[in-house]
Amino acid sequence: MSLSVERPDTRTLPSQKPIRLLDNAGHAVHGSAAGGFELPDPATLLDLYRRMVVARRFDVQVTALTRQGRLATYPSALGQEACEIGAISALEARDWFFPTYRDSVALLTRGIAPGDILASFRGDWHNGYDQHAHRTASQATPLATQALHAVGLGHAARLRSDPIVALTMLGDGATSEGDAHEAFNFAAVWQTPTVFVVQNNQFAISVPLSRQTRAATLADKAVGYGMPGYHVDGNDVAAMYAVTQAAVERARSGGGPTLIEGLTYRIEAHTNSDDPTRYRAARDVEHWKCRDPIERLERYLVSEGALSEQVRTEIADAAEQVAADTREVMTAEAELDPLELFDHVYARPRAALREQRDRLEAELAETAAAAGGAR
């Protein structure tokens, strides 16, 4: 492994002012506020813009489909596109991603088909995509548990001198879970190639950040574990991308883990069954809508002459196509086989499960026969 790895100071607290490369007006930020990071080149920024626009269209479409009853539930990432897309875009295809239930748009960006992402939220099966093909673990529901999986996989890769990185996303609420702390600590002690991206959207369902932590920033926690931590403007996709990319490169070259906190805001409800009016003011939501990550980058690209009307239209069309594909696949009913319930529990077949499968099969046959007889 490389000996010339950049090792940031891990004893100094992260800046309380979030690292920012583009301000809300779409102007490039320089100096200390940029935290030593450089604005990605225009082509990269345009690509991030395209990905965010597609992600949002998908997210809005899925929320609409959920309201129509096509999905059992959907945790939206509306407003968090810079965190999601900035971080996941810094990962290469060979790297592994360990997402949560809120990170569907990151899965889309990783190339997973809408129908495969949403199979779990539709209720078909607990997971609908091929983990190995996309190097993406199933979306974790129990908070922070997946962070340990990312650390373990990264450690295994490191033992094999396989230069891959495992990136995991967490929410602000998840940083209160013991598994988050165990993951931070194991990663730092073992110096695993892990990037922890904490999306601080300021609410864990209804509970605000102030009831999760007394730390000035969630990135501060990195210091106690001996790893670098960055407090980043999570609505600035340029900053999220640049900071994550640096962390990925450091991890890949043997420099160990990094904790990145993206400060953002969940515009939508926790899920469709949540009522956010009970715990937050409409004016707060409006305030954050005015800090929209897509509009911010758009302002910059337009001011730089990097986003023509033609490109904007092409991107909008591509986003509409993803929405149409999503509608189509979610409107069709999936073919489900109840007998498959028994097929994947164990590698080694079990007599007791076979008996239960036979019983269900007989029940299904009776039901089918009765339905046939009634016709």
Binding site: H149, G152, E182, H344, A347
Partner: protein, 342 residues
């Protein structure tokens, strides 16, 4: 991912029988598994230079180095959670929980992920991993060192749970557990760690998912596992003097349950009792009694009995002898049946 054996060591050369403890047999199984497959890695608390608090990993780090066996931070959820990630990558981690009661921080990872990952991913993401848990009591341990946690694991679909009762099974079943593509909770009865047996290694006994009739008899079937197999054998010896012929079945595999072997024995004797250290209410014996009854009711001459620890938290060292099922308590329980009806 390579699947080839390393050049490290040959399997324990088949040798003349030597007296081996269960701890020694487990150590040999780990050594041979690590030599046979370089995907096998071992970690946990104190498993490195110390060789584990029960010395089950004694000498392994000196042989295989710190990339194959190492001391992890002291956090059981972290140990099991990272083992999941390592198994996802293609390794075959074998992790140690040190004591039953210290495995509880890992409960969420065990129940929510170890047990469910294969099913969740339709078999695309199997987790070939072993969680070793030194279990049960009778070692004079202070609180939290003598629990019997088996029912927590056996009531979780997706987990395979086994418990050897003797050195030969300990070696054979641990090798099989490590070779298994299913995650295995491998429970090691602490009070049997130092029991010696004359063995030739490598030994392979019955498949890991089968029960074994360890003593034949015609009047009663005692169903035991781990530490209570010895208790059952003692009861069988004592009963001989009273003219009672007891068959002892070592369950070996708690999940899956070997209905075939158990039912065959119960149908032969028509009476059965299950023995375990864990508390009775909602314990593993309840499942055993229920399924033995469901499957063999018309062959039974008496209700299936449970001879177990009391429904109390595990006692302090000086009081544990009153809690643990003994041969006398087993025989007393059998005496409650109405024998003349048989």
């Amino acid at each position: 991912m390579t699947t080839t054996a390393t050049d490290a060591r040959p399997e324990s050369a088949a040798s003349a029988p030597t007296a081996l403890t269960m701890a020694g047999a487990l150590n040999a199984a780990l050594r041979d598994a690590m030599a046979a497959d370089d995907r096998v890695v071992v970690y946990g608390e104190d498993v490195g230079p110390l060789g584990g608090v029960f010395r089950v990993t004694d000498g392994l780090q000196a042989t295989f180095g710190e990339d194959r066996i190492w001391d992890s931070p002291l956090a059981e959820s972290g140990i099991v959670g990272t083992a999941i990630g390592m198994a996802m990558y293609g390794m075959r981690p074998v992790v140690e929980m040190q004591f039953d009661a210290f495995s509880y921080p890992a409960f969420e990872q065990m129940v929510s992920h170890v047990a469910k990952m294969r099913n969740r991913t339709k078999g695309r993401m199997p987790l070939p991993m072993v969680v070793r848990i030194p279990c049960a009591g009778a070692i004079g341990g202070v609180e939290h060192h003598s629990d019997s946690s088996e029912a927590y694991w056996t009531s979780t679909p997706g987990l395979t749970v086994v418990m050897p009762s003797n050195p030969a099974d300990a070696y054979s079943m641990l090798r099989e557990a490590i070779e298994s593509d299913d995650p295995v909770v491998f429970m090691e009865p602490k009070s049997r760690y130092w029991a010696k047996e004359s063995l030739e290694l490598p030994v392979r006994t019955e498949p890991m998912d089968r029960a074994a009739v360890v003593r034949e008899g015609s009047d009663v079937t005692l169903l035991a596992y781990g530490p209570t197999v010895r208790t059952a054998l003692e009861a069988a010896d004592a009963a001989t003097a009273e003219g009672l012929s007891i068959e002892v079945v070592d369950l070996r595999s708690l999940s899956p349950f070997d209905d075939e072997t158990v039912s065959a024995s119960v149908r032969k004797t028509s009476r059965a009792a299950v023995i375990h250290e864990a508390a009775q209410f909602g314990g593993y014996g309840a499942e055993v009694a229920a399924r033995v009854t469901e499957r063999n009711f018309h062959h039974l001459a008496a209700p299936v009995l449970r001879v177990t620890g009391f429904d109390i938290p595990y006692p302090s060292p000086k009081l544990e002898e009153y809690h643990l099922p003994t041969a006398d308590r087993v025989l007393a329980a059998l005496a409650t049946w109405e024998w003349d009806l048989a």
